[in-house]
Symmetry: C2
Subunit: 297 residues, 2 copies
């Protein structure tokens, strides 16, 4: 049965990848798509699966990656010990995406849904989180509401929302969040594979609805140089989180993942300034105050 | 005696900080200096030393940090176990500097000289490395030659040069180096404190000579948009190294260092592009080929 669900999950993430690709292409006429099919060799240098990396560059979507992968085989035994299951044979499939729009009024989004099998044990993980650069509260409420509805049948929103607030946090920056949260979950295994599978697949289907209506609403808004400066500094914090804290990035590096596919998550342009702070009384100062846990619904 | 050398080392790095500050101010009339004196509380929340952070922004030197610190007190016991000495009481003093010039023809430089005492055990570490963005070989030879001469009396150049080539390496990027190397050393303790102290202080005095003549030679050279684009992508790799691999950054985060002083090392502007590669036949492609161990002298 596990075999059957592995196959179904792989198929599901590839379908979702195609749907998201089509959606993006429909919205950004200048969007170029660079697709790379890659293969991996495992820790013992045997064939170990691979993936489909789709890198986008456009006018609306400055840089984006919508990737799927299905890897299998041996991993570093030291690393394997830190995981949930037994042994150093791993299978993992998932979709991972990050979209960094050009216009600072349009938020960055990240989402990921994965199924992992180590030895006899399976588990699911995933989530979606928003990183806005301008304090348009109705968008933040909308985003959280979509995920709340998606989680409703499973009674998991409160838990997953809290988990997200804790996870996407720059602990080295006084626990400032990367963005304004969303949902995050890991190690989902109730013992009932069919139920767990259905829950994750069902939740993942809300991604398009959670994000693209916000893009459509904001993509033609004007913006200032100050808006861009704030956005680029927040891009800098995004890089800090991904390179210092993100378990997904670490997982990729430790399992000999394809480096270009992993670091596709980094925004095209970013800035660092010593003791950077947004201007007093600016909308950016207000936005800054939202990078902490907050009940948006 | 250890007490006396701790004091002398602290004084030395502060003098060096002042000399470098004056040198930079003399070269960049638009240079602004933001000086912060900070104090640290140790792992038990007792007073634990502090530092002098000097952040620069200018026309020639786009962003730079020339910092000294002297910290003392308790550190995380788990982290203490990974160090050379015994116990979780630590004393450390040093100078750490990074200069990122605006003009891509002028290389970035980093240098660091430190003395650490854990329990009864002392050791020194340090080095200097260059990150150029344009293939001006004579500058790379000059930089290495200065450090070779500085190391001559101690017979340590070959060892320190090799150590540098190994250390400043993005292992996740196929062992590509951050720049073109220089010298690096750590855990220097021959058992003769006076000799070790004199060696490190003496070597550190070559910093000004190793770098600023290169700046003077290149600061008025013209450059193209392609030069800037290559520079900003290399800035991106610089950020990757510092946040993923750099022990100094990790040391700062683990010892509850001041985050703004630690991350001052990041360049002001940087770029990431999926599968970025310099144009074929360009000087940048040539420069790219130099980010690996090479005998420059």
């Amino acid at each position: 049965m596990l075999q059957e669900y592995k196959k179904k999950f792989s198929e599901h993430v590839r379908l979702l990848q195609n749907e998201i690709t089509e959606k993006m292409q429909g919205m950004d006429v200048e969007l170029t798509l660079n697709e790379d099919l890659w293969k991996r060799s495992d820790f013992n240098d045997h064939p170990g699966g691979g993936g489909i990396t789709r890198a986008f560059e456009g006018d609306l979507f400055e840089s984006a990656g919508v990737n799927t992968s299905e890897i299998s085989g041996a991993i570093d035994p030291k690393f394997a010990k830190n995981l949930q299951g037994e042994g150093s044979e791993l299978w993992a499939a998932g979709i991972s995406l990050i979209i960094h729009p050009y216009n600072p009024k349009v938020p960055t989004v990240h989402a990921n849904f994965r199924m992992i099998v180590q030895g006899d044990k399976y588990w699911f993980g995933g989530g979606a989180d928003l990183t806005p650069y301008y304090p348009i509260e109705e968008d933040f409420i909308y985003f959280h509401n979509v995920w709340k509805q998606a989680c409703e049948p499973y009674g998991c929103f409160d838990e997953y929302k809290k988990w997200c607030d804790t996870y996407f946090t720059n602990s080295h920056r006084n626990d400032e969040m990367r963005g304004i949260g969303g949902i995050f979950f890991d190690h989902l295994n109730t013992g009932d594979l069919e139920t767990d599978f259905n829950q994750v697949v069902d939740i993942s289907k809300s991604f398009i609805k959670s994000y693209f209506p916000i893009v459509e609403k904001r993509m033609n808004e004007t913006y200032t140089d100050d808006d861009v400066e704030f956005q680029l500094h927040r891009h800098g914090r995004y890089v800090e989180f991904n390179l210092i804290h993100d378990r997904g990035t670490l997982f990729g590096l430790k399992t000999k993942g394809r480096i270009d596919s992993i670091l596709i998550s980094l925004p095209k342009r970013c800035m660092y300034t010593y003791r950077y702070a947004p201007k007093e009384g600016s909308p950016h100062e207000k936005m800054q105050s939202y990078y902490k846990p907050k009940d948006w619904v």
